[in-house]
Symmetry: D3
Subunit: 131 residues, 6 copies
Amino acid sequence: MLLVMTLIEYADASPDVREVYDDIMAARKTDYVNNFWKVLAHDPVTLRRTWNSIKEIMAPGALDALTKELIYLAVSVSNQCPYCIASHTASARKAGMSDAMFAEMMAVVGMANETNRLSSGYRVEIDERFK
Amino acid sequence: MLLVMTLIEYADASPDVREVYDDIMAARKTDYVNNFWKVLAHDPVTLRRTWNSIKEIMAPGALDALTKELIYLAVSVSNQCPYCIASHTASARKAGMSDAMFAEMMAVVGMANETNRLSSGYRVEIDERFK
Amino acid sequence: MLLVMTLIEYADASPDVREVYDDIMAARKTDYVNNFWKVLAHDPVTLRRTWNSIKEIMAPGALDALTKELIYLAVSVSNQCPYCIASHTASARKAGMSDAMFAEMMAVVGMANETNRLSSGYRVEIDERFK
Amino acid sequence: MLLVMTLIEYADASPDVREVYDDIMAARKTDYVNNFWKVLAHDPVTLRRTWNSIKEIMAPGALDALTKELIYLAVSVSNQCPYCIASHTASARKAGMSDAMFAEMMAVVGMANETNRLSSGYRVEIDERFK
Amino acid sequence: MLLVMTLIEYADASPDVREVYDDIMAARKTDYVNNFWKVLAHDPVTLRRTWNSIKEIMAPGALDALTKELIYLAVSVSNQCPYCIASHTASARKAGMSDAMFAEMMAVVGMANETNRLSSGYRVEIDERFK
Amino acid sequence: MLLVMTLIEYADASPDVREVYDDIMAARKTDYVNNFWKVLAHDPVTLRRTWNSIKEIMAPGALDALTKELIYLAVSVSNQCPYCIASHTASARKAGMSDAMFAEMMAVVGMANETNRLSSGYRVEIDERFK
């Protein structure tokens, strides 16, 4: 039994895992599958469900692809998830995030985390008009 | 000594608190100051610093006002802060967030929180190209 | 079976629960047992262990009682726990926390939450001298 | 004064620390004490209290040892605590967690983190029947 | 535009939303759809995806239904999500969680949250054998 | 465009960044600027705002410098932020935190995280007198 899950490379993957890898590469117009998926491949059901969900959620709609990537990265920063920060910084860059956009997103994340605690600690009641 | 901080209304506020209230209303083109500021007014130094920081951070720059509001709300949702969710839903609405944008932002926040835990629990190593 | 745990009042408590209630009231020089303990009393083993741990941890040592209460409250604010914020604001007040101390503690909690995210999102490497 | 706490090995430990180490090894039927305890040994009072609490909490009762380990690991994953994920993956494995169980636990943790944010952000009111 | 999302009752729901409601009631052998779904119905795509994911994840497999419910509830408690705690306490009860099981689960969640911080704050290095 | 922000050393810094560095070194009576600021320097506006806020917040007032450092560190431990734990352990040491103070602060942080979850999971109602 494994303590740490290894990377399942394309060559060693089962047909259903390969199918997901192929779809990831096609959707992202790349020949690279990042480690997250190669580890998740130990559970092909979760691999497929997670990929299908992300593909559905991240497709441009009322919000464009860059805005969605910025939100994904902002949440990952707020949760302090090292892998997600690294991989979603990369995907946000690919979607067009400039240095200035990154810096402004970071400033908003920092401030939101600060005022979230101020409002909780000061026990501020919700304004009638916000209810 | 107070267990719960009361709201400091404009009529009862000191001149330096009024100055911040005036600036909030001018910047937001409204005659309404929400409860967060009226409670924070118990500490005029924090009131002024927090307002000045938010005004600087939320001004349109490389990211427009709506994108910044969406990020602020996304972080507040991720942190599950009831007051901040209520007040920033209102301000994002004011900045142009539609029902569809709200729903898509929520879907991204939910998925980011899920994959943040998957990558941490599976102990996925950061890809060389993301370092 | 219960969805919500009721308060177990002294009059209805078993002897071992009463013994803990008595110790709480004696240690805190009060005749009041707050709701947290009256709900936890549904699990007498956890009630006793939790109270004994808190009594040991919160006793003055290298840090005085007020400093410990401020830290307890700061963490509860950071975690945005409504019950804990309410009850530990009360106990910090009792231990001598003034309005000014509360405001300064809150400012530190807010700022720490902000810079925690800035350092994580900017992926700052730990300085050699801090290792 | 120390910035980073060193490991206190058995040979260098005081009698009261050794007593806890001995009890850990006896309870776990192993001759290995993991780093967590060897660092916590810098504070013998916390070492003893923490160990006694864990021993009491993790003993089989209404829930068996494996279920308790799965819950412990699930919380550690949700909190994204690297040390705890590593050490509690090991102890859950020892208690009988298979690869399939790990994968299913992970899927639940991921989904709970997602729906927790959906319910908070959509501000869902608690159903009367759940109150 | 809405600040707070209303409940979409069956009678007012679109055919695709009704289809999900029907599936929820069939899978859970009940005629009750709880508020979470009735609010999520404002976004039928997220409603369907979330329900399908939960149905797949919570089906008995290597872990039985009760163990999965306990893990779901444990994570919701750890995240301090009021709605999720209320609704998943109810579903765990329905799956067979006794008062004693609830109390033991809670004790593990509390302890895991404590030791997660102890290991992070003491900066404990991961044991070679856990890597 | 950068995936990881480099350190901006004094020699390479713009005049406005140098001004902040100079102020940091003067306020802290040191010739060392730690990595956090050298990375934040990529966004001079955030660098200046963050430093000015921290300088204002951490100055002794109703709470002394050591108490503020202990609270800052306690929150960073609770948030499990590796960089912040490392850097604020160092600054708390500099402000006079002994090994015993560190250990007692850690015990309070651990316990607060435990009881925060117990009160949330047991759904304890706030006592009338704490409202």
